[in-house]
């Protein structure tokens, strides 16, 4: 018997993406601190991006080489920002 879970439909993913847009807007008006709001808003954005990458771009089905090609510039872009952050944030 085939017990494999059926793949999530594209429309279902779209509904989730729309709901997450709503969640992002709800965070904006929720009584959170500024820092917590920013963190949550970007967590929601990352979740949306992950949904698009996984279900629409089918990244999960790609070989390791494709993963490496995508991960390296992502890590470099984040590292570039983080490395320069102390110079900007702690400038007297």
């Amino acid at each position: 018997m085939d017990t494999a879970k059926p793949p999530v439909g594209y429309v279902t993913i779209w509904v989730w993406l729309v709901l997450l847009v709503g969640v992002g807007l709800a965070i904006l008006v929720a009584p959170f601190s500024k820092v917590l709001s920013v963190v949550l808003i970007f967590a929601v954005a990352t979740l949306k991006a992950a949904l698009v990458l996984r279900h629409y771009m089918h990244v999960r089905a790609q070989p390791l080489m494709i993963y490496a090609m995508i991960c390296v510039p992502v890590v470099l872009a984040i590292a570039l920002t983080l490395v320069l952050l102390p110079d900007i944030a702690f400038r007297p």
């Binding site: 779209w14 954005a45 991006a49 629409y56 771009m57 790609q62 510039p73 320069l84």
Partner: protein, 197 residues
């Protein structure tokens, strides 16, 4: 080993690693380079914003409602392009072309709404030279808009071509889709950066 057999060997190793058509690998390479372009811009924006103390006054002038509508338009276009790819895989030609045309129209809608937003801001005297926030705003949304325009042209060209040369071109739907989804992912991060945070 001769030069030709070494080249053959290298090509074989490359195909062994990816097991994907070279066109698809090329699209992923291109998208990887685009990550650095937009990643670098976003990083520079975040650092400049921290250095400037938040840009709260400038950010109050952007229209979040228009941006939300555009976000929904782009998310829906991602759905239509992935549906087009799915239909092509199932050899449902008419549906694939219809979904691709939907993507083109939604891309045009996004650009139309963005143009309206720009005209509104420019009418209020908010130009790229109005401050660092506006320089970043126009650069990042302008570059993203250019990518949307290129995507619209690619998808429309493909839509026309698929009518006559389905067998030769249908696999390119996946490549066009990958590019379109990437443009969507970029907007997913631009939206909170410029309008929400």
């Amino acid at each position: 080993m001769s030069a030709i057999s070494m080249a053959e060997g290298r090509r074989f190793v490359g195909r062994e690693l990816t097991r994907e058509p070279l066109g698809k690998v090329g699209v992923w390479w291109f998208l990887a380079s685009e990550i650095m372009v937009f990643g670098g811009l976003m990083g520079a924006y975040i650092l400049s914003r921290i250095a400037a103390g938040g840009w709260a006054a400038e950010r109050a002038h952007v229209n979040t409602t228009i941006a939300v509508i555009n976000t929904l338009v782009l998310l829906t276009s991602s759905l239509s392009v992935v549906e087009a790819h799915g239909a092509a895989e199932a050899d449902r030609r008419q549906r694939a072309r219809r979904m691709l045309l939907c993507t083109v129209l939604l891309g045009c809608t996004f650009l139309g709404i963005k143009s309206f937003e720009y005209s509104r801001e420019l009418a209020h005297g908010l130009t790229p030279s109005s401050g660092l926030f506006w320089s970043f705003y126009y650069t990042m949304t302008g570059l993203h808009g250019l990518h949307v325009l290129v995507g619209v042209i690619i998808n429309f060209t493909l839509y026309i071509g698929l009518g006559r040369y389905w067998e030769a071109l249908h696999h390119r739907l996946e490549y066009a889709g990958l590019y379109w989804h990437f443009v969507d992912v970029v907007w997913i991060f631009l939206f909170p950066l410029l309008y929400l945070a």
